[in-house]
């Protein structure tokens, strides 16, 4: 555990910040927000139009982990996609089925073009199979879950590039 702040060698590492700023300048970034444990570095640059990140009420919602408590299958909240991708999320809780029935080809694979009404998978809950539609248009660039995998509400099933 961290000791009293004053006894720590170097509360803010200027070298790191200088390097970060150089990076921002060079790469025209508008904001950098870094945290590690208690440490946080948040840098924003240029245009006042940059959306002010809502400051963390989230320090606020701390992840209070009793360190020795076993954590089995804690699912992290869906991570932001790297590009402008659309996520197709599970609207329910159940088992993901990629194809209509065993032996059939999958509804979609990477490269498939989908429209809002395209059926992309089925999710089974209590013996009921729910057909899930894409609800968006584009090309599937990632299938995020395995066949027959259990999915929660909100689990990202596919990523779709709308501009492809």
């Amino acid at each position: 555990m961290a000791d009293d702040a004053s006894t720590q060698p170097n509360p803010f590492d200027l070298q790191t910040i200088e390097q970060l700023v150089a990076l921002m300048s060079k790469h025209d970034l508008s904001e950098i927000d870094l945290r590690q444990g208690e440490q946080r570095i948040c840098l924003r640059r240029g245009g006042a139009s940059a959306t002010p990140a809502p400051l963390p009420a989230v320090t606020a919602n701390p992840a209070p982990v009793a360190l020795s408590a076993p954590k089995a299958t804690e699912t992290p909240p869906p991570a932001s996609p790297p590009r402008q991708l659309i996520e197709i999320k599970s609207p329910t809780v159940g088992t993901f089925y990629a194809q209509e029935k065993p032996g059939s080809p999958p509804y979609v694979t990477v490269g498939s073009r989908v429209t809002p009404t395209t059926i992309v998978c089925q999710i089974e809950a209590m013996k009921v199979f729910n057909e899930i539609t894409a609800d968006c248009s584009g090309v599937v660039v990632e299938v995020c879950v395995q066949n027959k995998e259990f999915v929660e509400y909100g689990t990202v099933l596919f990523r779709v590039d709308p501009n492809a």
Partner: protein, 449 residues
């Protein structure tokens, strides 16, 4: 014993069940809606599964999703907590169909007790007093007069089509009965297009006394004495305690034994509560059974030393009750104050939001059941209970003094809570004298409430 249990609930009761599981060496699977994502108590479970959006009908009340989660997590049992699906016999049946143990009473008993009329009849058959009244509608004036004389005044005329207090009329003396009946019928006719009325004994300023029951699947049912929950605001309990103050021991015993008789007649097992009204002459009348663990169960845990949630789990796993009635010793006095995220100074308006400071009380005699921590955001979507502050002391006077002290120590910032109201209640002479009834809060804090 179960290896893994799913908890189909949220907030403090979910944490309560997680704690019981941890202490029993059972793995716990928590479920949560998007409004509860990241709530600290979820991390104390062995596993947690998102089951839907904030709205309860799509998450905590959505049976297929709960069952899906239970099957995926491979649990042997589901604990429903209180509220949500806890008294839903259909849910208990679905669990049974899916070969998952429902930690609660059998659906048959839930059906029997869930219908007020059937429960009333069952109680009468079991020799448990109910609120006297006409069995059906009152057709003739002579009928009404005879019944009212039999029950004694005051009586209550209720519109059959009314509800929630509408179409009710209190008659305090015989001379007013017939004119009252006429007026009530006219009012009901014009208000509900149905002039039929019935008659009931009016219990003035009653106390709410309930009996904690515990039964196993072998037919054993015991009581764990009573709780007094008279301190309510609009039927929402605020303060609960045990023993019920100023209740003669003979009455206490009779109420508790009545509750056991009814539970046995209903084929009840698991934890449950039998609710009674008690009038000023200490006559008691059965109202209803709450077929679940209750918010205020810790009051009974403190005075009996019995862990009710663990007992529920053991009974659900088929174990017999580990104690007989004679083993249950009531000792001392326990009081619970419900700390709700509400503003008592502003008509109890809900006050969800970020808890910026949280400094709980502690020390001798204090128990605090809460899922809140500093930095926790109380979601606006569910009930406003954020903590149950309990004290346990040898006497009621000691318990009140201890509660006052604990309330004074309790600091919550960022949201409004019922703490200031509780501080006043604990200093109120009527409460200190154990002389409150279900109308006390409205009568005393009328201007504020």
């Amino acid at each position: 014993m179960f290896q893994r249990i799913l908890i189909a609930n949220r907030g403090e009761i979910a944490l309560r069940i997680i704690r019981a599981c941890k202490e029993m060496g059972i793995e716990s699977v928590a479920v949560y809606s998007e409004a509860d994502r990241g709530a600290p108590y979820l991390q104390l479970a062995d596993q947690s599964i998102c089951i839907g959006p904030a709205i309860a009908t799509e998450s905590y009340l959505k049976i297929p999703r709960l069952i899906s989660a239970a099957e995926a997590a491979d649990v042997q049992a589901i604990h429903p907590g209180y509220g949500f699906l806890s008294e839903n016999a259909h849910f208990a049946e679905v669990c049974r169909d899916c070969k998952i143990e429902f930690i609660g009473p059998p659906p048959e008993a839930m059906h029997r007790l869930g219908n007020k009329n059937e429960a009333r009849k069952l109680a009468q058959k079991a020799g448990v007093p109910v609120v006297p009244g006409s069995e059906g509608l009152i057709e003739k004036d002579e009928e009404a007069l005879a019944l009212a004389r039999e029950m004694g005044f005051p009586v209550l005329i209720k519109a059959a089509a009314g509800g929630g207090g509408r179409g009710m009329r209190v008659i305090r003396e015989e001379a007013a009965l017939l004119s009252g009946l006429r007026a009530a019928r006219q009012e009901a006719e014009s208000a509900f297009k149905d002039g039929s009325v019935y008659l009931e004994k009016y219990i003035e300023q009653p106390r709410h006394v309930e009996v904690q029951l515990l039964g196993d699947r072998l037919g054993n049912v015991i009581h764990l004495w009573e709780r007094d929950c008279s301190l309510q605001r609009r039927h929402q309990k605020l303060v609960e305690e045990s023993p019920a103050p100023n209740l003669p021991d003979s009455v206490r015993k009779k109420i508790c034994e009545s509750a056991v008789r009814l539970a046995k007649a209903a084929g009840y097992y698991s934890a449950g509560t039998c609710e009674f009204l008690v009038d000023k002459q200490n006559r008691f009348y059965f109202i209803e059974v709450n077929a679940r663990i209750q918010v205020e169960h810790p009051v009974t845990e403190l005075v009996t030393g019995v862990d009710l949630v663990k007992a529920q789990i053991r009974v659900a796993a088929g174990e017999p009750l580990p104690f007989a009635q004679r083993d249950i010793v009531h000792r001392g006095c326990a009081i619970e104050c419900r700390i709700n995220a509400e503003d008592p100074a502003s008509h109890f308006r809900p006050s969800p939001g970020l808890i910026t400071r949280w400094q709980p009380p502690g020390g001798p005699g204090v128990r605090l059941d809460t899922h809140a921590v500093a930095g926790y955001r109380v979601p606006p979507n569910y009930d406003s209970l954020v903590a149950k502050l309990l004290v346990y002391q040898p006497t009621r006077a000691d318990a009140i003094a201890c509660m006052r002290r604990a309330l004074d120590e309790f600091i919550i910032e960022g949201i409004h809570t019922t703490i200031p109201l509780h501080r006043e209640i604990m200093r109120h002479p009527a409460f200190q004298a154990g002389q409150v009834d279900t109308t006390f809060i409205e009568r005393t804090w009328q201007k504020k409430g």
